[in-house]
């Protein structure tokens, strides 16, 4: 008995248009950030400094561009693979508008400096809650559709969608746990090493389960569609799926090699990262081999061109990633632009190009017309490809060059490039070329916008597409003898959900629980004390300005680092750091032992105009800290929040905290006045004083290299 129904194309189109709009916005913000790194005056006002714009770029491209791209592809393919309309139109639109509102909230709060200070999870707690709710709406809508489906078996793409949904939910909730201090500020529930481990378990798996698994699902649907032939090996796709989610979840610690993370956790991360090559390449080859016998069409069809380069880029990054996870290459690549090149081959190549391919494939079908210009689509392809090349290659050179310069010693055993800035200015040319690459890539995308616009004008949206399919026959008792276990689970989406969840939970738990559990993993150091109220306020400014985007606070145990920065970082030094601020990139020098290296006055001059103390510096000036009064009234609440998180301030200290902060600020101002013979006459109430207090505290708890391993708390 055939049933007639309609696919909802309107929602697909809404997500598709949002993908395009936010793609352009995200890329444009990225280009601005790239230019800010070479043209300091482009850091025009406090809301537009690099430290705030870079999180805006990453959030925009990951959650707005790729996020909407995922939803567009999922809403299109899910309905057709299940032969059913989405479960609820109401939920579809709630999902759509909820997600767009979250994006708008991010676009407002990030430039305002409202951030939790954890990379790729910067949004503050009220937005985190909104994300959770919208994600649940998406989940109900997806599972509702699966339950009312007309096709018994779930195609492999849907498995990827299910794993994406369940894992992203888990990652987001665990990593966002925080203690609020008012509506716009919170402190991470975890501190130091534990916070770092949770954050990179999240960060790595955000790449895995937001940028990879949903896109693999889309690849398994749209690539066969565009090539008009089935996937090369369905069996391989199943193995690919289970192996990928089995292994990915363990690999997070490779972001923290040579850090203060326990050695065994680092090794675990390395082993699983190397193993990842197998499923990743299994998937990549499965994608490429789907085109067997159809390669002649790749020459003509821009959709296939985009998809082939996307899958190839996926293959390249998933080989490079495991290699960068080995200690040898990581010691060279980490903290350099190599990482930036690596992620952009993934972002521009894999996510970007697959999205473009899908847009060019879907759009004419949604609008019942043909693409306005295949020539323009081809032009987009070539300009975009050139953009990726110009983006990535200079940054590979830059990363390698800078890393070698950091590590170079004279025959007498001194650093050749004592001044960090020399190593940065050496690679400035690469930053210009990267900006050129970004401009090309954005230019290509703008060509697509024109092409899309003209196509939309020529056609008319088929809002509801007629379809018919037989109703799903009811289950006839127990599975027959010939039926496989796997076919059993294939027909049971809920069991599938539970199985994926158990897999990722076990991986995550084994990785993290021991670090939380075994106290010997984070030895406490008796001389490490909580921050003073003024330092805590200064630290919040450091977080607000996104200083961690360019400055690390993690000295690795290499001679080249201990000579340059001082004693290597110990796990016990970070136990009061809610959140940790180790950073992942050094565009400026490491600050873990900045305290006491330079005078207060040096910092005072430097933050106002970095070139006044460091000729040619590319750091933005932070003049607004000299105008803005410190929000000193918030101090008691912040101290209380820290006490709730277990930071051992004495009882009643919150009430004395304002007084304490004022006294410390006065001390700094007096010292600066004295040292400058009265030239610096700073105001104690300004933000800059708190920041100086924090910078001068960094790493001083164990200075002098005498690390007394104290009693375990």
């Amino acid at each position: 008995m055939m049933e007639r129904f309609q696919y909802d194309n309107k929602i697909v189109n809404a997500f598709l248009m949002a993908t395009i709009v936010f793609g352009i916005v995200g890329m444009l913000v990225g280009l601005i950030a790239a230019l800010q790194m070479i043209i300091p005056w482009m850091n025009a006002a406090e809301w537009f400094t690099f430290g705030r714009i870079r999180p805006l770029h990453t959030n925009a491209v990951i959650f707005a561009f790729v996020g909407n791209g995922i939803f567009a592809g999922v809403y299109y393919s899910l309905q057709r693979l299940l032969k059913a309309r989405m479960f609820s139109d109401g939920l579809s639109w709630l999902h759509f508008w909820g997600w767009q509102l979250i994006i708008v909230a991010a676009a407002i709060t990030l430039p305002l400096g409202i951030t939790s200070g954890k990379e790729y999870a910067e949004l503050e707690w009220p937005i985190d809650i909104a994300i959770t709710l919208v994600w649940v709406v998406f989940g109900i809508n997806m599972f509702g559709t699966i339950l009312k489906r007309r096709e018994r078996h779930l195609y492999v793409a849907i498995w990827f969608y299910i794993a994406t949904w369940v894992t992203v939910a888990m990652l987001h909730i665990v990593n966002s746990m925080a203690m609020p201090v008012g509506l716009f500020k919170s402190y991470s529930m975890y501190a130091g090493v534990q916070d770092a481990l949770v954050q990179w378990w999240y960060g790595h798996n955000a790449v895995a389960f937001f940028l990879t698994t949903p896109y693999l699902g889309l690849m398994y649907y749209f690539l066969p569609k565009a090539a008009n032939r089935p996937v090369y090996s369905y069996k391989l796709s199943i193995i690919h799926f289970w192996a990928l989610i089995f292994i990915y979840i363990w690999a997070g610690p490779h972001h923290l090699l040579y850090s203060s993370l326990p050695e065994w956790t680092q090794s675990l991360g390395i082993v699983f990262s190397i193993m990842l090559i197998a499923p990743s390449w299994g998937g990549m080859l499965n994608g490429l081999l789907t085109l067997r016998g159809a390669w002649d069409r790749v020459r003509e069809d821009p959709v296939l061109k985009f998809m082939v380069v996307a899958v190839t880029a996926y293959g390249m990054v998933t080989l490079e990633g495991p290699l960068l996870s080995t200690k040898l290459l990581n010691s060279i690549s980490h903290f350099t632009d190599w990482t930036i090149a690596h992620v952009h081959v993934g972002g521009l190549g894999w996510n970007g190009f697959l999205t473009f391919g899908i847009i060019y494939w879907m759009l004419p079908r949604l609008f019942g017309t043909k693409l306005y210009s295949v020539k323009l689509a081809n032009a987009h392809f070539w300009i975009g490809t050139l953009g990726i090349v110009f983006y990535a290659i200079p940054l590979y050179f830059a990363g390698f060059t800078q890393s070698l310069m950091w590590k170079q010693f004279t025959p007498d055993g001194y650093l050749v490039y004592k001044n960090f800035l020399d190593t940065l200015l050496q690679i400035k040319y690469a930053y210009w070329l990267r900006a050129l690459g970004g401009t090309l890539y954005l230019g290509g995308a703008l060509i697509m916008v024109y092409n899309v616009w003209m196509t939309v004008r020529a056609g008319k949206l088929v809002s509801n597409e007629d379809a018919e399919a037989p109703a799903m026959e009811t289950e006839t008792g127990v599975a027959t003898g010939g039926s496989h276990w796997h076919r059993w689970i294939e027909r049971r989406p809920i069991q599938m959900l539970v199985a994926s969840f158990v897999l990722v939970v076990i991986g995550g738990a084994i990785e993290m629980v021991p670090t939380f559990l075994i106290e010997s993993n984070v030895p406490t150091i008796s001389s490490v004390k909580p921050y003073t109220p003024l330092e805590l306020q200064g630290r919040d400014i450091y977080i607000r300005e996104g200083c961690y985007v360019c400055h690390s606070q993690m000295i690795r145990p290499f001679r080249s680092e201990t000579v340059r920065y001082g004693e290597y970082s110990k796990a016990g030094e970070f136990i009061y750091d809610h959140p940790f601020q180790w950073g992942s990139k050094r565009t400026g020098p490491d600050l873990a032992r900045e305290g006491g290296k330079r005078s207060d006055a040096w910092h005072y001059y430097h933050m106002y105009d970095p070139t006044s103390t460091s000729d040619g510096s590319l750091m933005p000036p932070y003049t607004h800290m000299y105008d803005n009064d410190l929000d000193i009234a918030s101090t008691p609440a912040k101290i209380r929040a820290m006490m709730k998180l277990g930071v051992p301030y004495s009882e009643g200290f919150d009430e004395r905290s304002i007084e304490d902060a004022r006294a410390q600020a006065q001390g700094i101002v007096d010292r600066m006045r004295e040292a400058s013979n009265g030239e610096i006459n700073a105001n104690t109430d300004k933000e800059i004083i708190a920041l100086i207090a924090y910078l001068q505290r960094l790493g001083t708890d164990i200075s002098g290299g005498s690390v007394a391993e104290g009693e375990v708390e």
């Binding site: 649907y221 089935p230 897999l503």
Partner: protein, 69 residues
């Protein structure tokens, strides 16, 4: 906050073995899955791999499958 979790876990005797058990379960699951996938029937694979192609794929108005030809 974490203290609540910590103390409960440290009070479990022999908790060190838990991760090892979990890993073995995990890996066994993977091997079992591998075996079943390898023994899929041809008919089933054919049905599954045709799935994206069996919906008419909203062909272009003139019935072409590609924007090129």
């Amino acid at each position: 906050m974490l203290k609540f979790i910590k103390h409960h876990m440290t009070s479990i005797v022999g908790i060190e073995i838990f991760p090892i058990i979990a890993f073995i379960l995990f890996f066994t699951f993977f091997l079992v899955m591998l075996w079943y996938v390898i023994t899929f029937s041809r008919k089933h694979v054919a049905h599954m791999e045709q799935m994206p192609l069996t919906d008419k794929g909203s062909p272009l108005p003139d019935g072409r499958s590609s924007i090129n030809n």
